[in-house]
Amino acid sequence: MTEARFTSSKKLTIIWIILIILTLSSALVGYFKLSGLYIVSFVLLTVIIKGQMIIDYYMGLKNVRGFWRLAMLGFIFVIPAIIYTGYVLSSSLTF
């Protein structure tokens, strides 16, 4: 039991560290006021990774099969994809 408990809380902590690192990477993009499609792709990719981690590990849906996990993952994949499409279609972006 102790082993299982330790592993699980340790996993939550590792995920928190990854989430913070990904957030700081986006923060650097903001700090240096970077722009362009490569940057947008990178930041939105971090959004998808962070969202997937929160849904699977913090919300606890990793081993939940069926509609609800797919619906939640749908949000975190589809919305960034639409945002990206919108940015691609915007004219003044430099690649």
Binding site: E3, T13, T23, S26, K33, V40, N63, A71, M72
Partner: protein, 195 residues
């Protein structure tokens, strides 16, 4: 034995919390999703305006708030983990720490709003600020509601309302709080970072 806790099981697990909260979460995500899509559409027709005024925002405040919400979600997840192990004290501590992070978010956001409103910027200043203020304030209200829920969870925990066998309420409240975090994870880069 209830070793379900330790992420050991790989087979199908039941949905955490009350089913009703998941319908509520989906409805909330749909509303925010539509809001985000409209933002992108309007931005594409006002590119220069959005790019100019986005740079006036306090990106550091946005970063602090993102870290606060992510950390708060972490504490809530640790709280759920603790209650599954019947560690009531640890659950209480985690809920209080999550609430503290929620307060950090509110204080930073209020500071941000005070700067903006102090500069005579309001909803009708321009299209960018219409979106910025309405989107972030809508989310702000969700954070406040989430904090009320966390406070109620802490209260019922102290009353002996939760245990390893009976923790659905904590999972329900935790799911709502994670949703608030999830929305901010999209909102923050969309409004503050990408251009």
């Amino acid at each position: 034995m209830s070793e379900v806790v330790g992420d050991v099981l790989e087979e199908k697990e039941p949905l955490p919390g009350d089913l009703a909260i998941w319908f509520f979460i989906m409805a909330e995500l749909l509303v925010f999703g539509v809001f985000f899509i409209v933002y992108v559409f309007v931005r594409s027709n006002n590119l220069e305006l959005f790019n100019t005024y986005q740079l006036e925002l306090h990106r550091e405040a946005g970063v602090i708030n993102t870290i606060a919400l992510i950390t708060s979600s972490y504490f809530v997840a640790m709280g759920v983990h603790a209650i599954k192990n019947n560690n009531i004290k640890q659950t209480g501590r985690m809920l209080l720490l999550a609430l503290a992070m929620g307060f950090v978010f509110l204080i930073v956001k209020i500071w941000e709003y005070s700067h903006i409103f102090g500069a005579s910027i309001h909803l009708s200043t321009n299209t960018f600020y219409t979106f910025y203020i309405s989107l972030t304030f809508f989310h702000f209200m969700h954070v406040m509601m989430g904090m009320v829920i966390l406070g109620a969870l802490y209260y019922y925990l102290r009353q002996g309302g939760y245990s390893a066998e009976n923790h659905q309420g904590i999972e329900t409240g935790a799911s709502y709080w994670h949703m608030v975090d999830l929305v901010w994870i999209v909102l923050f880069p969309l409004v503050y970072i990408i251009r």
